[in-house]
């Protein structure tokens, strides 16, 4: 009980940190990694809310597919934002 409440407090703060870093980062590959970190924070949050079905879909799509797609797309443009 107390661990899930702690996770419910820590995971959103972690996601805010990752979102802020992703938005302000100039290196797009690093920004994609921060975005994956935000997804991991959300997965922790969903697991703390005990929704394992959503966690499985969310972690596969947002950490795996979405990050891979972003890396593929970045490889077609420039790595650094001007």
């Amino acid at each position: 009980m107390i661990t899930s409440i702690l996770l419910l407090i820590i995971a959103p703060l972690l996601s805010i940190f990752f979102v802020y870093m992703a938005v302000t980062e100039k290196d797009l590959l690093k920004a994609a990694a921060y975005s994956a970190g935000q997804s991991i924070a959300y997965s922790i949050l969903l697991q703390a809310m005990s929704t394992p079905d959503i966690v499985m879909t969310y972690i596969a799509v947002s950490v795996g597919l979405y990050s891979a797609l972003l890396v593929f797309v970045i490889s077609k443009t420039e790595r650094f934002e001007r």
């Binding site: 959103p12 703060l13 805010i16 940190f17 802020y20 870093m21 302000t24 394992p52 079905d53 966690v55 499985m56 879909t57 596969a60 799509v61 795996g64 597919l65 891979a68 797609l69 593929f72 797309v73 490889s75 077609k76």
Partner: protein, 245 residues
């Protein structure tokens, strides 16, 4: 850099203050018992669909038609995406050099691990959390790390072409449609589960049509995303060289 830290601390404080204020003002009480609809699903899922997993039962049985239309929408989206890439396989064959031996070996191990977890998610989807879409996307993640490491050209030489992948996808979706349509032959309504399909085969609990839907959905999702990744992995230079020559 220090500006970033100050803004982050401000954001954290604002979030904490806002959430504590909201908790104190709204004072949301934790529900102590299930409400009507939830109670119905929890009590009746195991008898009506032969599956202890209420989520899979709702997705593929109670709301089965919704999910089939959703699959159709994803199919059309991926077909549209593939139609935008007008690409010959010659351009793909130019990308034949992968990464180093070290990354190839470690990718083999990691991809095998991901694929086995995906198989567990798919084949156990009607009994425990999981199902067709999460399992299929996990397989797609495995193929998405294989494609850049081993290079698309090498995979095409070994017989993995996007045409074949789209064919697998089409076949899987046709099978999914047939599973949904077969009960109509006996005069039952479409997407019927327990009145047409058996709950178990040779002692294995398959929960009627739920495990079949999971299997075909995962095949369709995995092959669709792999086809997209195969096209996306072509570098821009190969693309321009291909069209110029």
């Amino acid at each position: 850099m220090s500006r970033r830290i100050i803004i982050l601390i401000l954001l954290f404080t604002a979030t904490l203050i806002a959430s504590f204020t909201a908790t104190i003002i709204l004072n949301p009480a934790t529900p102590s018992e299930l409400k009507g609809l939830a109670k119905y699903y929890v009590l009746n899922t195991i008898n009506e669909t032969a599956s202890p997993e209420a989520v899979t039962a709702i997705v593929w049985d109670y709301r089965g038609l919704d999910t089939i239309y959703e699959t159709l929408v994803l199919y059309l989206a991926i077909v549209g995406g593939l139609a935008m890439f007008k690409m010959s396989e010659e351009a793909l064959l130019k990308t034949r050099i992968g990464l180093t031996l070290l990354s190839k070996t470690s990718t083999k191990i990691v991809a095998l691990l991901i694929a086995s977890i995906a198989a567990a998610i798919v084949f156990h989807g009607h009994l425990s959390p999981g199902g067709g879409f999460p399992g299929g996307s996990a397989v797609a993640v495995a193929s998405m790390i294989i494609i850049p490491v081993f290079a698309a050209g090498t995979l095409i030489e070994k017989g993995v072409s996007s045409t074949k992948l789209v064919a697998i996808r089409g076949a899987a979706l046709t099978a999914l449609g047939l599973v949904a349509l077969l009960p109509v032959v006996k005069g039952l309504e479409i997407v019927t589960n327990q009145r047409f399909y058996p709950a178990s085969i040779l002692g294995l609990p398959i929960s009627g049509s739920l495990s079949l839907y999971n299997l075909f959905e995962s095949l369709a999702v995995a092959s669709g995303f792999t086809a997209i990744a195969l096209y996306l992995s072509i570098p821009e230079e190969a693309h321009k060289g291909g069209s110029g020559a």
